[in-house]
């Protein structure tokens, strides 16, 4: 993937299997979020191909990609801040529901039923996070949530689009150890209960160690290591990328 003369990602060969959790690690600027943006269709790759279940999705509109089964969260939390918590989640069910404005305006039984189902589904998804996003919280505006809760809400919103693959961009950023532990558990539960394939960008190695089946390390747009956590964590190129030249030898 090239932005003008800047080669953001080069020769990246990445396969993710069903119900696998793969972590993508690497220093900032390695191209991790670019990878997510290409996969979800925000950028069109300048070369190479991307397939989902055998179907090519390179360069497709993000809305189309989402409906084909890929959902994501954002590194800098892009919630619908002025809408309430439950509306954020309910809004994401748009593409999976059907009542058009005439049905809603006339209040047809079908549209009323669909509205109730949407509401119920949103409540279930929010209850997934326990007492954090429950009850009175539902009707509060999203901007009133704490940072950790905003991240959780974003995950709930992504889940509302009924994806097969979930891309989490630094889900544990800015969280204290207890919240980090919770997020790791949530990721595990999502794979187990909802049968999701999950791709995680993370800097926190506790999370990476705790959830990953496989780890991929990127640096300057190139894959430098791949494997299970222990092999990647001790890989000399990875240590060098994080800690600088000479660290590998010292270690």
């Amino acid at each position: 993937m090239e932005f003008g003369a800047l080669k953001s990602l080069a020769e990246l060969d990445l396969t993710v299997n069903k119900e696998e959790i793969v972590s993508v690690i690497g220093p900032n600027g390695a191209g991790k979020t670019t990878l997510f943006n290409i996969v979800t269709g925000i950028y069109t790759p300048t070369s190479g191909e991307i397939t989902l279940d055998g179907q090519s999705i390179a360069g497709k509109d993000p809305a189309v990609v989402n409906q084909l089964g890929i959902a994501r969260t954002f590194q800098n939390v892009r919630l619908f801040l002025n809408m309430s918590v439950i509306e954020n989640v309910m809004a994401a069910t748009y593409a999976r529901t059907r009542s058009n404005i005439f049905a809603s305006a006339f209040g047809t039984p079908a549209s009323k039923r669909e509205e109730q189902e949407v509401r119920q589904r949103a409540e279930e998804l929010l209850n997934f996070f326990g007492s954090r996003l429950t009850g009175y919280r539902w009707d509060q505006p999203a901007y009133s949530l704490s940072y950790a809760n905003r991240r959780r809400l974003e995950i709930a919103r992504a889940l509302a689009t009924e994806p097969k693959v979930l891309l989490l961009d630094e889900p544990a950023a800015g969280m204290n150890p207890k919240e980090t532990q919770e997020i790791s558990e949530v990721i595990g539960r999502m794979r187990a209960e909802k049968k999701l394939t999950i791709l995680v960008i993370e800097h926190d190695m506790h999370v990476v160690e705790g959830v990953s089946d496989r780890v991929v390390a990127l640096d300057h747009g190139v894959k430098i290591a791949e494997g299970d956590f222990d092999s990647v964590a001790t890989h000399p190129d990875v240590i060098e990328a994080y800690l600088g030249k000479g660290s590998a030898d010292r270690k």
Binding site: P62, F74, R78, N82, M90, Y94, I101, T161
Partner: protein
């Protein structure tokens, strides 16, 4: 001992009811803090107690009563114009308030609807369509026009969209102006389609089941029915799937797109719905006026509609009703001196109340103003400056009430100018003055305003109207930028 236990358990139950310290109680903390003291606090309290539905029903009943008991055609005309204006405000609320699209060419759809009715119900093109045919056709055609306008706007947001749509609005005006002499290929003489700057007079009235509308009252009832249905429909849409999707487009289009929402399609839908409503309103307006003139569909009207929707709170449907009322009925009320005076005094007193914040301060301010008045009166009597007899300027209820307190010098114009300059200087100084000095300035500013009002502005009704509305808008936007019923938004840039 048992008494103590009882008190203790009572206190416990109370604590449990309030749930002090629990998450819910903490969450409502901000709400409690925000409940302001004084006049605004009372308004807030009343606001929460009455449900929206009660308000709507009360409004509907009042409107029905108005239609039955009022015969005065002038009043009915004002009410019908309000109805049409409200339709437009709702339409713009959908485009701007729900979907967040800055459409500055909106009035062109309104004008298109009006002209389309003129062309299908007059001798201009000799078309006299029955109303049940012309109005639906107009709505559909205007909706299609909205679709066309939305196409180049698909990739635009914010300021760029504003410019493009403003441009479309101006194209419409120019098209209409120059369509009074179009030479079709193959013909030698030109046809007059739109009457150019002269407009198209003599339109057929609406006709349903063979009965033509005889007076404005018929249009009033039609508007009442249409608006009731429209308000119900739009409120329902707002609360459900499409309304939510529109709001996500307004909030964050990229995140919205990433959640599977086709942003471009929703923008187009907003344009289409807004245009359809505007076209419908235009057709009804043309019927009421029995004529169309292009200069009623230009930027001045656009400004009024936008002011209405922002005043009421963009995104709030009840707010549109308030906004439309203020921008449409208020200028009419202000034509009458009695009413404009009362409004002026009310606004002044309210402003003092709002700035004063507590009842005590408010009373203090009012007393100070009265005291200043008497001091001035004494000073003028002592200095033997010639004064204008109150017979000349005390003609309306408020000025009559003031005539024992307020003294106007005979050289009204000179003193009026001095007072005007002093007022502007004082207000400017007030805005940068230290907090301690502000309370001293306020009564002085209030007195000079009253003086100026009675001295100069009352005589000139037109200017006063504009001034009052402008001043109200400015004050409101400073005090409450989200409009009357809008929600304070958090913007992430």
């Amino acid at each position: 001992m048992s008494q103590q236990n009882e008190n203790q358990s009572q206190a416990d139950t109370q604590t449990k009811k309030l749930g002090i310290g629990t998450d819910e109680w903490v969450a409502q903390h901000d709400k409690r803090l925000a409940r302001r003291v004084g006049a605004l606090g009372v308004l807030d309290f009343l606001n929460e107690k009455v449900s929206n539905r009660t308000r709507y029903v009360a409004l509907l009943l009042a409107a029905i009563a108005f239609g039955f008991f009022v015969d005065n055609q002038y009043l009915l005309r004002i009410a019908s114009n309000l109805g049409v204006f409200l339709m437009m405000t709702i339409g713009i609320n959908i485009v701007l308030g729900f979907a967040g699209l800055l459409d500055l060419g909106f009035v062109a759809f309104y004008g298109f609807g009006a002209y389309a009715y003129a062309l299908t119900s007059s001798s201009q093109l000799n078309q006299h369509w029955p109303t049940y045919l012309s109005v639906p056709a107009i709505v559909i055609t205007t909706a299609f026009l909205g679709y066309l306008v939305s196409l180049p706007s698909r990739r635009l947001f914010g300021d760029y969209l504003a410019i493009v749509t403003l441009f479309f609005g101006q194209i419409f005006i120019q098209l209409v102006l120059s369509s009074d002499s179009i030479t079709f290929p193959g013909h030698t003489d030109s046809t007059d389609i739109t009457g150019g700057s002269n407009g198209i007079p003599g339109l057929d009235p609406f006709k349903f089941f063979g009965q033509p509308f005889k007076s404005t009252t018929d249009y009033y009832w039609l508007l009442l029915i249409v608006l009731t249905l429209l308000l119900i429909a739009v409120t329902r849409i707002d609360r459900t799937r499409v309304g939510r999707a529109w709001r996500t487009v307004r909030e964050d289009p990229l995140a919205s797109q990433s959640m599977g929402i086709k942003v471009n399609n929703l923008k187009t839908l907003a344009f289409i719905v807004g245009a359809a409503i505007a076209g419908f309103a235009g057709a009804i307006f043309a019927g009421i006026q029995s004529a169309v003139f292009i200069n009623g569909f230009d930027v001045p009207l656009l400004t009024l509609v936008y002011a209405a929707v922002i005043l009421g709170g963009s995104g709030s449907i009840p707010g549109s009703i308030i906004g439309a009322f203020v921008m449409s009925v208020l200028p009419e009320i202000l034509r009458v001196q009695n009413y404009s005076e009362m409004l002026f005094i009310t606004v002044l007193v309210l402003t003092i109340g709002v700035i004063g914040k507590t009842w005590k301060r408010f009373a203090l301010n009012i007393v100070s103003v009265v005291v200043i008045g008497y001091i001035v009166k004494l000073a003028l009597n002592a200095s033997q400056l010639a004064t204008t007899p109150s017979k000349i300027w005390a003609i309306a209820p408020v000025s009559k009430a003031l005539r024992y307190w307020l003294v106007l010098p005979s050289n009204r114009i000179v003193w009026g100018n001095i007072a005007f300059v002093a007022l502007v200087a004082l207000v400017a100084y007030y805005s940068i003055a230290r907090e301690k000095i502000k309370p001293l300035l306020l009564p002085l500013i209030a007195y000079i305003s009253i003086f100026l009002w009675e001295d100069r502005l009352v005589a000139d009704a037109n200017t006063t109207r504009q001034l009052i509305i402008g001043a109200m808008l400015v004050v409101l936007m400073i005090v409450r930028p989200q409009g009357f019923l809008g929600k304070a938004r958090v913007e992430v840039l």
